[in-house]
């Protein structure tokens, strides 16, 4: 019962995210969707993952999103004039986007057919304990964990370099 409630909220909120004109509403609906996902994690006996989902996605990342959206102050003003000139609205990028969406759909169908549609009950026994989670993260998945950390570090350094280079260009 609760599953359908959370699932419905997640799906409807996600759909509304892309249906909004105002980016601030999009960000808020995405947060609502993350909240519903976190509820699903609780139902899967994984309270730790649920809370981390809220802290990392809804709390930290979306605050930055909202911050950027508010700083750029883009809402409402996207008039018809904007839509015509916007580079992402030209035929080429839109075709590319359509291809990507198609590829994603095929992948989803493939993944669903592989699992035979039977997702079954999730065995959350090991994941409820934070200790077990940490242990498997730092032993079995140590390589993936470290690789992800380095990827994030590189992205962070890259962002800083890009931001600084831009400012130097503006000074000249």
């Amino acid at each position: 019962m609760l599953f359908y409630l959370f699932a419905a909220v997640a799906v409807i909120a996600s759909l509304l995210v892309i249906a909004q004109r105002n980016p601030v509403y999009s960000v808020l609906l995405l947060i609502a969707s993350f909240g519903a996902l976190s509820g699903l994690y609780v139902l899967l006996q994984a309270p730790f993952v649920a809370v981390i989902q809220i802290i990392v996605y809804a709390g930290a990342i979306m605050v930055l999103f909202l911050f950027v959206v508010m700083l750029l102050n883009a809402p409402h003003e996207e008039t018809q004039h904007d839509e015509r000139v916007h580079p992402l609205r030209r035929a080429g990028p839109m075709r590319f986007g359509a291809i990507l969406a198609g590829a994603l759909l095929v992948e989803l169908i493939w993944a669903l057919s592989r699992s035979g549609g039977d997702t079954g009950a999730f065995d959350g026994g090991g994941v409820t304990s934070v200790r077990a989670l940490g242990q498997s993260l730092f032993t079995d998945y140590a390589f993936a964990f470290e690789a992800t950390s380095i990827l994030i570090l590189v992205a962070m350094v890259g962002a800083v370099v890009l931001a600084r280079a831009e400012r130097r260009g503006a000074d000249d």
């Binding site: 808020l28 309270p47 981390i52 809220i54 802290i55 809804a58 605050v63 909202l66 508010m70």
Partner: protein
């Protein structure tokens, strides 16, 4: 309906009402202490010694007109104070404030003095704290006023910056306490070292306690970190455009957040309801005393320290507090590994 469930419901309502009351008491205490520190009398007309002043304030706020700027975003403008107040109340739900009790034998099974016993309580508090940013940010944005927007942006930058140190201070405590449950952590702090030093984590984590208090002050936007509402620069910051009860909700949220931060500090660092002289069943008196002491410290600090400059705040948060918090966590982890938990 079992008696235990009934007691739990009554307890939940009781906590809700007491949180509301605590905000009223804090308003009175803040005004009285401020007056004392400034050699004034403070409120003294309404009721004996001005004790009914908060009541008069509430009545005044209720009868004020609810204003909304024409250019404001109606939905978000109404939603923002609700988010703030909801987060403030929700965070206290996982805070335990006393040992198990049977209410003098009235109940068959012991009742926990806590609204919800979650085994990841610390993280829940952290999650709700990170959600409460939205109330302030949205208030600032939806008001469509430059002062509000600046206040909202400042507060989001400030809360993001200090959340990291806040989280790391919490992490060092849970490394020492070896649990994510607040009840476990409090029970870990019962007893004494050498017969007279209470086994409170503040003695194991003095640096962690300082970091927690500093970051907690910044998280609750209290002086000397009250930039979101720096009145000399921003009129009243994010709630400039709010009036009547929606303003009251922000006000309420601020005071309840202070109570929650103090209550969590009591549970994490000051031994919760453990203390000498009183039996375990009356431990909540110790809990209240410790929270009251921390709250007094909060008020005292507000009327003693001037506000920092904004760049000083950011510099301090990222270049001093965060590295110290990281080092403290590493040192704590090393200590626990070396000496055993």
């Amino acid at each position: 309906m079992t008696p235990l469930l009934l007691a739990q419901i009554v307890l939940t309502l009781f906590v809700f009402v007491m949180l509301l009351n605590s905000a009223a008491i804090m308003v009175y205490v803040e005004r009285k202490v401020a007056a004392m520190l400034q050699q004034r009398l403070g409120p003294y007309l309404v009721g004996p010694r001005g004790l009914l002043q908060p009541l008069a304030d509430v009545v005044k706020l209720m009868f004020k007109e609810e204003l909304r700027p024409r250019a404001a975003d109606a939905i978000l403008f109404a939603l923002a104070p609700i988010i703030s107040a909801t987060c403030a109340f929700a965070a206290f739900a996982v805070v335990p404030f006393g040992a198990q009790t049977t209410l003098f034998g009235l109940l068959g099974e012991p009742l926990r003095l806590q609204v919800a016993d979650v085994n990841v309580a610390i993280l829940v508090i952290f999650a709700i704290a990170s959600m409460s940013v939205y109330g302030i940010v949205l208030a600032g944005w939806s008001s469509n006023s430059k002062y509000s927007l600046l206040g909202g942006l400042r507060s989001s930058a400030q809360m993001i910056s200090y959340e990291l140190s806040y989280g790391l201070a919490l992490a060092s405590v849970l490394v020492v306490g070896n649990s994510l449950s607040l009840t476990d952590i409090v029970n870990h702090q019962s007893g004494y070292w050498l017969g007279f030093i209470p086994r409170w984590f503040v003695f194991l984590q003095p640096l962690g306690f300082l970091i927690y208090l500093t970051a907690g002050t910044a998280e609750t936007n209290r002086a000397p970190f009250d930039f979101p509402e720096a009145e000399q620069e921003l009129v009243a910051g994010y709630h400039t455009e709010y009036s009547s009860m929606s303003f009251a909700m922000f006000f309420l949220a601020e005071y309840i957040n202070m109570v929650t931060v103090s209550a969590v500090a009591t549970d994490l660092f000051l031994g919760g309801w453990h203390g000498p002289f009183l039996p375990e069943s009356l431990g909540w008196i110790w809990f209240l005393l410790k929270v009251a002491a921390l709250l007094f410290f909060y008020v005292w600090m507000r009327w003693t320290l001037p506000r920092y400059r904004y760049d000083q705040l950011m510099k301090f948060g990222w270049k001093v507090l965060l590295p110290v918090a990281v080092l403290n966590l590493i040192a704590t982890a090393a200590g626990v590994l070396y000496f055993g938990a």
